[in-house]
Symmetry: C2
Subunit: 458 residues, 2 copies
């Protein structure tokens, strides 16, 4: 169906020749960048996948699954295991039917048992699907957001697996949503290219940072044009009250200050804790409790309003997001580029959010998540929700230098990317340097000790 | 806390010396044993784990994670990855604090990212935890159900991770439940040893079977003393109506006939399909839709009553079961021995079910699931719910011959096991013969083709 986007005679016979998967890890535990109440010492990592083709004009598509260190090898193994479902396919067929590829990966009846549609095997499918979209966008010579945005409503509906969604969203309803957004695409695309997409920054608020560092980084964020910052909370309530007070004093009343508990609480504890922070006007509480717990999020939301409830970075699949929306459990939907089964499932999630008129504010950070997820928000603005009202993409200022097209931030906005592809391509030198366990960054390091290596390139 | 159950001076210094993990697969796709609407050609498989110790009296504990073929190698790799969290520990310490072991495995902050608490990494934790319980029961020279049943209410509460449960069940409530069940333990244990535990059989109802085979096996099941059988449904409604009619005619009105859709439907389709089967009085509809979908199960239950709704074999963790109970989404809770994080999490699930007065009818079949899960139901009867009313353990008559203590069925009941341990130990010869890909059963077989090998030991 998308075959008009492929080019050249040679590509018609091109095949996928292999999946290359590499265990890439960054020793972030050394500096406590990324530390929070549930992830005290993460080593941000990527199971980095390259779909290789025999088309010299478009030799590869790239993406990754993000992990926090130990277990990245399991994620690598899971992606490798999907090779037989992909290698040997015609590139043009794959790019013309990305919905079909997605279904083949997600619904393989034997692999499916390992989820179903969750965890390691689902993230593996997502990495492969995202690499295929990267390849398709490159072949169209477009950045992914633009490649997605110029698909017709019918083509987009064709990308989505509506199984288990029909009690909330039918293909016909999705088509109507997309057709309503069809007018004005060109204007929104031009606006996006001119101004970018609003961002918020998590950089000031890691738990491992001192009060002074928090205050300094919060002030810098405002000066840099951000209208929202975020603090990690959940380890100690008195510390959180103090840090929230400092942040509010520094940024003033107009800047939104969100907080993020990274699943630390049960229901009653979340409500009590947020009552302590409420005087400082938190914008949202993110991941107050376990990400599978729809009913708990709904109970917390009822109790902490008007503070908003946000979750989604660990939302396992479209069915969990569907229920969060059906139950009125969230005010803000935080999809992640690499947690679910890739672009196709994230289109489903964007459509669900639009159906329930719920703003999507993606999770990012990690390794390459900013680079990848910006395309989904920009596609949403151009072709689905048609608005950036109350929508911001998370921004964390780590590890971008390892990507071939690192995100750029200007005046608190993501600069709209114009480089072809989906953003997930890493620099060859970065991959080789950080390859685990044999890359130079990791020489002499014991992955189970809490001590990070003494040398690092970042 | 459980140290009174360890014996001998030598064991006090014993250590865990290794985790041995083997990829074991049975070519069940050859005969369509185990075929259903979502699993047309499974090769029942086990990531089989042995905790090795240097105690010559109690050298090992055994358990497994069950899969349906492709991806079993990923599951093996995940269990191997947990070795560093287990190897080197003192055996006595591990057996005295199985709650601590469980928490260490489930809450490792880096591995946790791969779930959290779901999928491959969670089943890996479950396999290791179950092997540790097997070892602890062997050291106490007791079958697992009996070892668990003689723990005090306080010890049992100590085994449970109450995080995310407190809006439904507090440690104090759990303690009260267990104390109420404390009286009468001895009588129930004696009754259990005399009569066994009620079973139902899925053997007649696989989708791949002919009508004649269905009728013959259903009649045999009744003759063998089963009071409940189960049919797989969900591929074709006319076929299902015919098969349900045949089954009902064969077994008569008194025998319960459950049906199992293996997640095949959306909400409206489930309701419509069950309305077609309703004239034949199905006892429960199992897995009508996606296992994560609490709200869909609740909607289906409201619509199909008095037909019961059952689910749980893919219930990812205690939080999903909690919500199913809170939402009134199920009549029957079908825990699985190898899907969640092992015995500890299943104690939590049994306590939740008791709190909501919901019968537990475990999922079994697969590889070794009958052997393992019977202990949980028997423990529940002796020490938690105190009843077998409306409770039956699934029985499937496949692959038992590969275990050192295969289940035995007598007059429609599981014969109460008296052999020490948790039931998950396989015969060395079975492991070697079915080892994938190099065991003799798999020689010359392409795992991605749908053709099963031409030789099989079962």
């Amino acid at each position: 169906m998308l075959s008009e986007h492929t080019h050249g005679q040679a590509s018609r016979t091109a095949r996928i020749t292999g999946l290359e998967v590499t265990d890439v890890r960054f020793p972030t535990s050394k500096t406590l960048d990324g530390s929070d109440a549930m992830n005290p010492e993460p080593d941000y990592s990527a199971a980095y996948v390259t779909i290789c083709t025999d088309d010299p004009d478009h030799p590869a598509g790239h993406a990754l699954a993000f992990t926090t260190g130990r277990g990245n090898d399991i994620q690598v193994r899971a992606i490798e295991a999907l090779s037989d479902l992909v290698v040997g396919r015609h590139v043009e067929d794959v790019c013309a039917d990305l919905g079909g590829l997605s279904r083949a990966l997600v619904h393989d009846p034997q692999f499916r048992w390992l989820g179903p549609e969750k965890g390691v095997i689902h993230m593996a499918a997502g990495a492969v699907v995202n690499a295929a979209w990267d390849l398709a966008a490159r072949r169209a010579n477009l950045p992914l957001w633009q490649y997605m945005s110029q698909l017709s409503p019918e083509q987009l509906v064709d990308c989505v697996d509506f199984r288990y969604l029909s009690d909330a969203l039918t293909p016909q309803q999705a088509l109507e949503l997309l057709k309503r957004a069809h007018d004005g695409r060109a204007e929104r695309e031009a606006h996006l290219l001119a101004t970018g997409y609003p961002a918020y920054t998590t950089t000031p608020g890691w738990l491992g940072y001192s009060d002074e560092k928090l205050a300094r980084l919060a002030a810098e964020a405002v000066k840099d044009g951000f209208r929202q910052i975020k603090l990690k909370v959940g380890a100690d309530v008195e510390d959180d009250v103090r840090r929230m007070r400092i942040a509010r004093e520094v940024v003033g009343p107009e800047i939104r200050v969100a907080v993020d508990a990274n699943q630390r609480w049960d229901v009653a504890e979340a409500i009590e804790w947020m009552s302590r922070l409420a005087p400082y006007d938190p914008w949202w509480i993110e991941e107050p409790t376990f990400p599978d717990d729809v009913l708990a999020h709904a109970a917390i939301r009822r109790a902490v309003a008007p503070i908003k409830v946000a979750t989604g970075e660990h939302g396992a699949n479209r069915v969990m997001f569907k229920q969060m929306l059906q139950a009125g459990a969230i005010d803000v939907l935080q999809l992640d580029a690499a947690r679910v089964a890739g672009v196709n499932e994230n289109i489903a999630i964007l459509l669900l959010a639009a159906q329930y008129e719920t703003p999507v504010c993606p999770h990012a950070g990690g390794v390459g998540l900013c680079e990848m997820v910006q395309h989904l928000s920009m596609f949403d603005y151009v072709a689905v929700s048609g608005t950036t009202q109350d929508r911001v993409i998370e921004y964390v200022d780590h590890l971008h230098e390892h990507f071939t097209a690192p995100v750029r931030i200007r005046n608190g906005h993501y600069v709209t990317p114009t480089v072809p592809g989906g953003g997930g391509q890493m620099l060859v030198d970065s991959v080789n340097t950080h390859r685990f366990p044999d890359g130079p960054v990791w020489s002499g390091y014991d992955p189970l000790s809490s001590a990070a290596p003494q040398t690092s390139t970042d």
